[in-house]
Structure formats: C-alpha cells, structure tokens
C-alpha cells in the first residue's frame, strides 16, 4: 500500500500531528496505534491537570485526548487500532501487524514518529535482592488500578519521584493502601511541584531525598525493602541502611523515548534526550521522517506535546507538497551552562512559519538566574527565572524575524547568574 503520510502512534502527539497535516492540505493520512484505542498514555491518567495552557481548563487525561480524537473523527482521518508497527526503514517502508489485516506493508511519502516513551524498569537500575512478585513500574500499576480496576498492593514504597509515581501515591492512598514513603535518589524531584503538593504533602506521605532502595526482600511476594542514604556520587552510605516492610515496590524512575524503530531506520539519536535530533519542522536526520512528543524528549505537560506535534504535522505537509527548503542555511542550537538539552537542534529560518518554540531542561536546581540566548556575543533573548528545576521544562519562543537575524553557526541557550 502507498500512503502520503503515516503516523506511528495515536497518542496526543500523533493525533495533533495528523490534525495539523490535514489542515495543511494532506488528505491521505493513516495513523497506526498499537493499543485498542486512541489517546496514548493519557487514557490511563484519570487525574486532573491537563490542558491548562492550550484550553485554559483543567481536564483529565482522557478528556484532553477526547478533544483530539473527536477532531480526528470530524476531519475523517483514517486510523488503525490494535496495530503495531514492527519495522521502519530509511526509505520509509513500514511493516505493521494487526489481527484484522495481518501483515501490513506500506510505502509512505512522509512518516511522523509519535511512539511516546516507556518506563525504566528494575533491570535498568540493577537493584540487588530477590525477584518476587510485587515490583511494578508505576505505569503498569496505574494501568491495573485505573483501567482494570485492580489493586496491586497494600503497603507500598515508591522509588523515584517522577510524576507517575507521585500520582500513583495519591491514587493508592485513596484506594486504601498505605503508601509508606517516596524515596528519591536526587536532592530534588523530577516531578511537577504541583504534584508533590497535591499527591504527597496533602496526604502526609514522606518524600526522602538523597535516598535509594538497595535491596528487595521476599521470596514469592515482596516483604520489604532496604533503603539507604546516598552521598554526592549517588552511592549508598554505609550505616544508613533501614528496613522498610512493604508488599509492593513501585518504580517511577524515569521514562525512555521508545526509539527502537528510529534506530532501525538509522535516525540519529541524541544521547542526552535518547530521542532523535530534530530541526525547525521536527524532521529527523532522515529525509521525510518527522518526530514529535515523548519520542523526541520526555515532556511533563501534554500541552507542549500538542504544540510540538502541530509543528511536525505542518512540517510533514510542507514536505509532501514540496514546499520545504532543504538547503544549508541556518544554525545549530547548543546547550550552554546549566542547560541539559535544547529541542530543536537545527534551525533553517526559511522554513519557520511565525516562530519557533524552543524546549529545554536545566541540569540542576538554580535560583535567581537569567535564561539567556546568544548569537556569538549578541544577546538574542534574556529572561529572569526565580527558580528552575530539572523536573520542569523551560521554553523560549523566538520569532522568525529574530531567527533570520542569527549570523553565527550556533545559537547558545544558557543560564547566567544575576549580578547582585
């Protein structure tokens, strides 16, 4: 089968990209989603807090997703559910599988990757101890509780203070479980501040910074964990070990963009984000393959996913219509002091519609800093931030005009301490 645009993943990223591509004149679009419904990870997030930026409203995950699903239906965009993409090649050949059609082979003019991310598991941390039942990633537990209606445990320790872990702390408490503590390796949380307040503080659940789980106990089912404090190098400090009785350990220790397909297609992956390098239209290093959402870098707010994905949809449309400038004009973006990464990585101002929204994360907690963007010595942008933290994504909007004026080969994003 031949298609103009194939979108892999029907989460918020894939849906927004499809809608925008359609609005920009592409009619032959197919979304492939491996789950039984559209909406992605949002379908299991039944708490409030989605859409504050885009809709200026507090929606639940499924409500937020539904707005986009309705739009996709209204625009008549085709999608296939229960369909897993197995292979993707550099020349945009896709192999997918589903129970209804069997093996599906597609040649696409353009592809948008919107596969989201997956959770890091126990293996990635190599936590010693036994291997009983009762160790779950927070997302797997969330699926059981929110979608199947089953509890995964009664006495819970949560390792990692990522948002899913925080949200599950509240959910498990409301379901009558005892959440004994959240243990965080770092001196700060990767979760949103509002989640720490609403999910832990409001329920008196202690959050232990600079601690980790060093051993899991129990033969068939978890019986307890040993926790310990860690030093500056994140290594357990002898003598600080403490046994905590519990029957469940939830892991909320980070998300990894799901880039197996991208690697197969020889797309260049940024080791810092574990997502693809992308340009001003969210195109990856492979011609005609675009990417957006959590597969590029892990977002904490779905609103940003949506914005970024509109851009990818617009980019793919331009590409298919042949209105896309492929020349060497432009510059790279670079993470300077205090910044861990910036997305997008390369900008050709000719392709920019009105502006580019640059997303970035800082590498530590800082107070009272300026976020500065520089073209050589020239300051292009500067704004005061009272508090920045790796858990909350920063963004800077620069207009096409500003971008056209960049002369150097690099635009550097950095933090500067405010002169007293």
């Amino acid at each position: 089968m031949k298609r103009d645009l194939v979108i892999i993943g029907g989460g918020p990223a894939g849906l927004a990209a499809a809608i925008e591509a359609k609005k920009n004149g592409i009619d032959d679009i197919l979304i492939l989603e491996r789950d039984k419904r559209l909406g992605g990870i949002l379908q299991q997030c039944i708490h409030n807090g989605f859409g504050l930026h885009i809709f200026k409203e507090q929606l639940t995950g499924p409500e937020y997703a539904q707005r986009f699903i309705d739009e996709v239906e209204r625009l008549g965009i085709e999608y296939k559910l229960d369909t897993m993409v197995l292979h993707l090649s550099e020349n945009k050949h896709i192999t997918a599988l589903n129970p209804k059609d069997g093996i599906i082979e597609i040649d696409a003019k353009a592809v948008i990757l919107a596969m989201g991310c997956r959770e890091r598991t126990r293996g990635a941390l190599n936590i010693p101890g036994s291997r009983p039942a009762g160790v779950f990633t927070a997302g797997a537990a969330q699926r059981f509780v929110n979608m199947e209606g089953y509890m995964v445990g009664k006495k819970v320790v949560i390792l990692g203070s990522g948002d899913i872990g925080l949200i599950m702390a509240r959910r498990m408490t409301l379901e009558g479980a005892e959440v004994k503590m959240v243990v965080e390796l770092m001196p700060y949380s990767n979760g949103l501040k509002r989640n720490i307040v609403q999910c832990l503080e409001d329920f008196d659940i202690p959050l232990l910074f600079n601690h980790t789980v060093i051993k899991i106990h129990g033969r068939e089912r978890v019986e307890g964990v040993t926790i310990a404090a860690v030093d500056e190098n994140r290594r357990p400090i002898e003598g600080t070990e403490q046994y905590v009785e519990c029957d469940t350990l939830l892991l909320s220790v980070g998300l990894i963009p799901e880039n197996e397909l991208s690697r197969e297609a020889n797309i260049k992956i940024n080791p810092v984000t574990s997502g693809a390098y992308v340009n001003e239209l969210m195109e990856t290093s492979v011609d005609g393959i675009f990417a957006c959402g959590n597969v590029v870098h892990v977002h904490d707010l779905v609103d940003y996913v949506t914005e970024e994905s509109y851009l990818a949809g617009y980019g793919a449309a331009k590409y298919i219509k042949g209105e896309y400038f492929k020349d060497e004009t432009g510059f790279n973006t670079k993470a300077g002091f205090g910044i861990r990464y910036v997305v997008p990585n390369r900008i050709n101002p000719k392709n920019v519609k009105d502006r580019v929204n640059f997303y970035m994360r800082v590498n530590d907690v800082y107070h009272n800093v300026d976020l500065v963007v520089k073209d050589g010595d020239r300051i292009v942008y500067k704004a005061r931030r009272n508090h920045v933290s790796p858990g909350e994504m920063e963004n800077v909007k620069l207009s096409k005009e500003v971008l056209e004026k960049v002369e150097g080969s690099e635009l550097v994003f950095a933090l500067e301490e405010v002169a007293k």
Binding site: D82, M84, L97, R118, G134, M151, R219, E220
Partner: protein, 474 residues
Amino acid sequence: MYDVAVIGAGIVGTSIARELSRYDLSVVVIEKSSDIANGSTKANSGIVHAGYDAKEGTLKAKFNVLGSEMYEGICKELDVPYKRNGSLVLAFNDDDLRHIEILYKRGLTNGVRELEIIDKNKVLSLEPNIQDDVVGALYAKTGAIVSPFELAIALAENANQNGVEFMLSTEVIKVYKEKDVFIIETSKGVVQSRYLVNAAGLFADDINDMLGGERFRIIPRRGEYCLFDKAVGGIVTRTIFQTPTNKGKGILVSPTVHGNLFVGPNAVEMDRKDDVSTTKEGLDEVLRGGSRSVKGLNPRDIITSFTGIRATPDTGDFVINIPTKNAVNAAGIESPGLTASVAIAPYVVSLLEEQGLRLIKKENFIATRQNTKLFINMSEDEKKEVLSKNPMYGRIICRCEHITEGDIVSAIRRPLGARSVDGVKRRVRAGMGRCQGGFCMPRVVEILARELNIPLTEVKKSDEGSFILTGKTK
C-alpha cells in the same frame, strides 16, 4: 501404584523421565514447584561444556563428554535451540598458559575432540573485543550454548506425550519403604511406586537420608549473573572463560542462544538453599570479572540480574548410586550437570534395570516434539497461513521480543503448559526483553486469567504466594 516415581523436575529429573518414557512403564514425576525447571535448571550458564575441565576418571568427566556429544541430537529431536559457538579459555600470563596446557591434556585424556591452543593474534582475530593483554587461549570448538529451561520443559513435554504423569506444586515430605513398595508422602497425598529416582537437586541429600543411603551433604553455592540487552549481544560470539586459579573458576562472558549476553557467575557458599537473591557485592564482582576478559561492557546495558544455586556435594563428584534397593540417587549434579544430565539419564535407567525393573520398548514411542514456533520466527508464508486461521497472531503483546497473543495462548495450551507469568516468559520469552515485562505483564496476566478461566487475582508470577494483584479497587 506407579512403576517408577521421580522426585524433581529439573534437567536431571526430566531427562530421566523422558528416558523412562521409552518403555512400557507407568511413571510419575513429583515436583514441588508449580513449573518444570524452577530450581538450579532455570538459572545457570547454559553452557554445554566440552569436557576438558573435569578431573580424569570422575563421573563428572565421563558424563560431561558423553553428554556433550549427545546434546545436539537431543535438542534437534525436541526442537529447542542449540548453538555450537565454541569456547575460549583465556590466558593472561605464563601461569595461565601453563594451566591451559594442563586443561588441553586433560581434555585429550577425557576424549574431547577439536581442542586447540591458540596464540594472541588468533584470539583477537576470532574475538576482537577481548582485552588486549590476552596472551593465548584454549579453544574448544565443541563448546555450545543452550537454553536450559526450554530444554527441560521440552523433555518434560515429550515424556508427558509418551505417558509420564507430572504432579506439580507437590512436595515430597517423607519417603519410606513398606515391603517392596515406596510410600511417598507429599503435600498432596500419598503416592506409591515400586522404584524411585531421587533427582531433587539441592534437596537430594534430604531424600537420600529418608532412603537411608550412605550419607552425603549438599552445600549450596550461589552464582550471580548480569544479563545484557540484545543490542550488545554481539560483543563476543564464543563463550569466554578465564583460566581457573586457586581463587576460583573465574567469570565468564557468553552470548545466549537468543542473542543476549551475560556475565557471571561468582561462587559464594551460603547457609540457605532457597535464597536466590542477588547482592551488590556479587553483581559488582561479576561485572568487574567480565571486564577483565572483554572490552565494552557497560552497566547501562544490563536488563536484569539473577542468582543460581549450585548443589555442590561434599563428596567432590556426582552422587549416582543406590541408596536402598530399587532406588537410584542422581544427586549433587552441579556443573557440568546440565551437560551431563542427558547422559546420566540412560545410565540411571540402566541402574534401575539392574535392580529388576523390566524395560520393554514401547512401539509407539514419540521421539520428537515440536516446539511452539514463535510468530517472529515464521517464514512470510507461515505467518500468512497462521494469521488466516488465528487472528490472535496479529496482536503483539510483548513489544520487546515481538511475541504475539497467539504465541502466548499456545504456550498456555500446550501439554504441561504455562500456568504463571514466569511460565509464559520461559516458554515464549514474553517479558524477557529490555523492558522486562514492564509493558506486557498486565496483558499476560489478563490472557492467563482468560485462558485458565480464573480471576485476575489468582494469577501468579511463579509459585504459590507470588500473587500479583491484591483485590478490586473501591
């Protein structure tokens, strides 16, 4: 009343059961775990040793070499993976060189074929990722790798096809003889048999005590492993050993038959036989040890770690003898026991025959068993064919290993099929990949509940007590 009862469904018990199933006999295998191969057989290095290691004249040496020769054929008959990848014992200094010379000679005495001592250049041309300070190696071309639990499951299935009964989740508590009959008291009632085989692994010494055999003890010794992502599975293609020293046998680095890579094991004596936990020190030790041999091992690529327990007999050799009339011990089967087991089995049966068990060959013995062919391993035509009959093959459940619902259902429906999440994982690899079941576990739980017609809360990870869900939400 059974003709023969076998205690233990590890690789030794299942090999013996399959061997017995060739004959017109009623046979039962009694296993305390809920699945086949849940003891030492599930967590070991999976190496078919060439046979240069065991001391000349021991049972270990004899059955190792015999077993190694039989392995490929048996794996073919039973349709399980076997890969003759060869193995290298690395030497890093003159002492090591002298030692591999001894191993070489021992190998020749033991009857190992295709052994060779090779120099540094040859080592590095075979395996470019070996550390540069290697000075030479013993190269055993007959060394091979297998999947121990898949083989044990296959042996059990084939035995079962040929009439052997399996009592799982059934612990032998007491055994005694009344006249010429063994009375076997189990957690699920009494079983009687005329002959008895003790293949109880780590607990074979206890069973031997009950039978009143000559006393020996089994000392549990832990071996820890780290398993790496398939992305780095190709760092080496052969199994890489270190030269054994008086400090220990060294840490090995090896690919697995499914394309992952592991390092391990260390060796730590323990006071408990059932503690399969890993330790920080142990995992650090095996990682350090592996990096002594091979470049490019990054802890970031580890996907899981585990412990196996060796059943080390205090006699120094396998204990294969007659504890009391009409019984046989196949005990203390530590490494190279996986290799030796397939050769031990016919020997144990011959010992039973010597004591009067009549062996009449079955005419309708089914010698081959067909494995569940995973969707991902099918040809394009096979895929189309199976999809047209069963749409469940069109639904991927384990995204890392691309295992479909059809694969999982067939693992459950097979004879002696999967009854737990781990059982599914060991039969068809769902949950074995880089996300270690993070994604598919809830789905596998649902499929198990549906297929077994039990509530979700009854689905177990492995044995009794390993429940996954605690109840419904409010």
